[in-house]
Symmetry: none
């Protein structure tokens, strides 16, 4: 799982970014100043640091240089967060070792796509948690599902079933296929078993997400857009 550390003195920014990062399936950490940021950095070893340039105490550039001088953090991605065009040229010019920068006000979608682009460039995997819909993030790694910011733990079978269905929203999975993929070919379970699991899922993730196609199987409904 890809981890991201946010270092910014403004609480609002930290919260917004953390929220959006988590929604996209990243692990998010936040620190309010450079010193705390470096502490956290060493303990969580994030893949990417989002670093505010203007901060009281150590400013972003100092933090950036500090990170680059730490053994084992050479490959850590650093992305500056700059106030508007707060000396855009200067930022661009200082190859203090940052990989990218995003200027405020930050649009979460833009930031996320920039982050993904950076990860791709570095050949890192994108986050495992797939967002099927704005509201549902499935984290295979931890068998967690996040819905509207609320994380929940699902038992294995329920999780596998949901993951399967959500892997292709709109696609109708036939019961045979579901049995094969979730339960395996060798094990034999009654047909009602699927229904019961579907029911529990609906109970947990909300009605209207999984639709029954009578005579065929089930599908995860597409995003209404």
């Amino acid at each position: 799982m890809v981890s991201v550390l946010v270092i910014d003195d403004e609480e609002d920014i930290r919260d917004i970014l953390s929220y959006n990062l988590k929604k996209e399936g990243f692990n998010a950490y936040a620190a309010e100043n450079g010193e705390k940021g470096l502490e956290l950095l060493k303990s969580v070893h994030p893949d990417l640091v989002l670093l505010d340039v203007m901060m009281p105490g150590m400013d972003g550039i100092e933090v950036c240089e500090a990170i680059r001088n730490l053994a084992g953090f050479e490959r850590t991605l650093i992305c500056f967060l700059t106030a508007r065009s707060e000396d855009y040229s200067q930022i661009a010019g200082l190859d203090a070792g940052a990989d990218d920068y995003v200027s405020k006000p930050i649009k979460p979608k833009v930031l996320i796509s920039r982050i993904k682009a950076m990860l791709r460039r570095k050949g890192m995997a994108e986050p495992e948690g797939k967002s099927t819909d704005g509201r549902l993030v499935i984290n295979r790694d931890k068998y967690l599902v996040e819905r509207n910011g609320e994380v929940m733990h699902l038992p294995r079978k329920e999780f596998e079933l949901l993951a399967l269905l959500a892997s292709r929203p709109g696609h109708v999975f036939e019961r045979d296929i579901i049995l094969e993929k979730v339960w395996g070919t060798d094990i034999v379970v009654g047909d009602r078993t699927i229904d019961v699991h579907v029911r529990k899922l609906r109970e947990k993730i909300g009605e209207g997400m999984i639709k029954t196609i009578k005579g065929i199987g089930y599908k995860f409904v597409e995003q209404s857009a």
Copy 2:
């Protein structure tokens, strides 16, 4: 729905491509020369243009440049159709702004997969199902049938029956064959059963799509073109 514009002076090519594109669920348009092509382009705003290189009047390269210089068509995908290796190198070299090229003789399947690859690269949605006719899209994946933009869900037997008939428009399926394919060999049902299902289908997808061939069976009527 993804739209594709074919610009080629050969009528056969236009027809074959249009037919195959429609069958795959694309909206297809065709023009016989560059000038008409540009006209059509402006009115239909296709997602992709298939462009013959060698044409009387404006050649493909000129058309390509013209498209690229039109405001609002920067993102329009352009794919060249080149005669064999008609200066392959030249085509490859000219970054007149094309996104891909396919050399003749064109194999529909190859072309379709190249088109889908281009759409994927651009992050555009692929067509959802297979179209039998301009008006009917059968999506086995989602067990849905789309008619004039209106999607509908059909129960299993009806869906299978329709899918069978529509798999070969114009072909007459004998009742025996229909029974075998849709109902299976082991199960035995009365003869009226087929009629009832046909009736329900006609009710849902509209009259005139399925024609009775008395004494033999049924067929899905061909596209009137």
